[in-house]
């Protein structure tokens, strides 16, 4: 599935906005800072401003907005139930009633808050980190001192997901070649069970062979990463601009809280 991971970045929908030329570490740190500030804010106007800022980042990233928004909508699907039930489960002043259930003002505000926060954070994440090559992301995370094991886990996933998928597809093809058609019934369930089991067994075997090959080349628990990253003037400009915007959000939040 490696092609799924990287294809979009090379295909016609490739991002080429000004954010694309930033150091990947600056983008990760920027996304993290944006997330922390946004989650800390509670006022609807401030959150709306954060969402607007995330939209700005999306435009600056040069990603096709349609696709990014569709991915954001997919995330909304997960919190839909929560947002729909909150007005009816939060105690407070009733605004309207639906089938005899009162919806509270506090609940509505809370639902709007969650919706705005989640969308702003996901949008910023898509704009800043979502357009990075997974390999580049791995390198950047390593340079940011993310635990080495997690980075290696990610790198191995990127490398071998395609190999394992190839194995799965070959087995699947061999099943089809012998007349297998998925249906509802024990034969189908059992066959899929065997298929899944075989893919897992092969993956374990392969991991042992890979480890053997790595040991042959002197592996001792550390994978050296080759590429150097360097912060530049663009990164400073990005840091100052985003920092100022986030500071403005914080100040607005504080002003609201004081009022």
């Amino acid at each position: 599935m490696g092609h799924v991971l990287t294809e979009g970045l090379h295909g016609p929908g490739r991002a080429d906005g000004p954010l694309e030329r930033l150091d990947p570490r600056a983008r990760i740190l920027g996304a993290a800072a944006f997330g922390v500030v946004t989650v800390a804010c509670t006022h609807l106007a401030v959150l709306a401003a954060a969402l607007a800022l995330a939209f700005g980042l999306l435009l600056a990233s040069g990603l096709p907005p349609g696709r990014a928004l569709r991915r954001m909508a997919a995330m909304d699907g997960f919190i839909l139930l929560l947002v729909l039930t909150l007005p009816f489960t939060t105690p407070g002043a009733a605004v309207f009633t639906l089938w005899g259930l009162p919806a509270s003002r506090e609940g509505l505000v809370l639902a709007a808050e969650i919706l705005l926060t989640a969308n702003a954070v996901v949008l910023a994440l898509l704009a800043l980190v979502g357009s990075l090559e997974p390999v580049t992301l791995g390198h950047a995370l390593h340079r940011l001192r993310t635990p080495e094991r997690l980075v290696h886990l990610m790198m191995f996933n990127i490398r071998y997901v395609e190999v394992l998928r190839g194995e799965y597809l070959r087995l699947r093809l061999a099943m089809r070649a012998r007349g297998f058609r998925p249906a509802t019934g024990w034969h189908s369930y059992r066959s899929f069970g065997y298929l899944l089991g075989m893919v897992l067994v092969r993956a374990v075997d392969r991991s042992e062979r890979v480890l053997g090959a790595m040991k042959c080349r002197g592996f001792a628990g550390r994978i050296p990463l080759l590429h150097a990253l360097a912060y530049g003037r663009r990164d400073a400009v990005f840091a100052v601009t985003l920092g100022a915007a986030l500071l403005a959000l914080c100040l607005a939040e504080a002003a609201h809280a004081a009022a």
Partner: protein, 218 residues
């Protein structure tokens, strides 16, 4: 002094009948040996035993003039004897070709600049410089095979252990690989079913059957 020597090796995988029953082999400096044998006769096992990825039940493994028993003994062996695996996908695990070729040298303590110099030299020598920044999982089968050879040569081994190197290569790629291998100065142990390859590269042949090695030089 032989480079590698297996002496009366017995080995079996857990839960299976023994694969090797008294196999012995000597590889002298500059020598090229090929090993043939039926599927599952233990040819790959033999190579894995030489670099300590597997340990014999009994028998001695000698490499570069010393007996090797422990994992630590084999660290030096693996540096000086480069094993090229049967499936290139087992060997290429770094995202890009340059990183994969640099992996070995950096494990040997080379710094980034030295490792990159080695990468460039090795890729240039094999005519693979155009693949330098390519992503390993997007290479073709033939390219993967040649890059795995580069990753092993980057460690400057004294011996090459080749496990079915022309497996799944088309004629053009196989011919290119054979030409490269023929030009290398290293001693070699070649495991292959490909009679033409054996004849060109390492006519001195041993046959593995019944867990023992017999000289079968034509």
């Amino acid at each position: 002094m032989p480079l590698l020597e297996l002496d009366d090796i017995h080995f079996g995988y857990p839960g299976h009948a023994p694969v090797l029953r008294g196999a012995s082999l000597r590889l002298e400096p500059g020598q090229r040996l090929s090993i043939t044998g039926a599927n599952g006769s233990g040819k790959s096992t033999l190579l894995h035993l030489m670099v300590g990825l597997l340990r014999p039940v009994s028998g001695r493994v000698l490499a570069f003039g010393q007996e090797r028993r422990q994992e630590a003994d084999f660290h030096e062996v693996r540096r000086r004897a480069g094993l090229v695996f049967q499936d290139p996908d087992d060997q290429l695990f770094c995202p890009t070709v340059a990183e994969d070729v640099a992996f070995g040298p950096m494990n040997l303590g080379k710094n980034r600049a030295e490792a990159l110099a080695i990468v460039d030299a090795v890729l240039d020598r094999l005519g693979l410089s155009h693949l330098r920044e390519r992503v390993t999982y997007k290479l073709s089968g033939g390219e993967k095979r040649l890059v795995t050879l580069a990753t092993v040569l980057a460690m400057e081994p004294e011996v090459l252990l080749l496990d079915e190197p022309t497996n799944a290569l088309d004629e053009a790629n196989a011919a290119r690989l054979i030409a490269i291998l023929q030009a290398l100065p290293q001693a070699m142990v070649l495991v292959s079913h490909d009679a033409a390859l054996r004849a060109q590269l390492a006519p001195r042949a041993l046959r593995l059957s019944g867990g023992c090695l017999r000289d079968e030089t034509p």
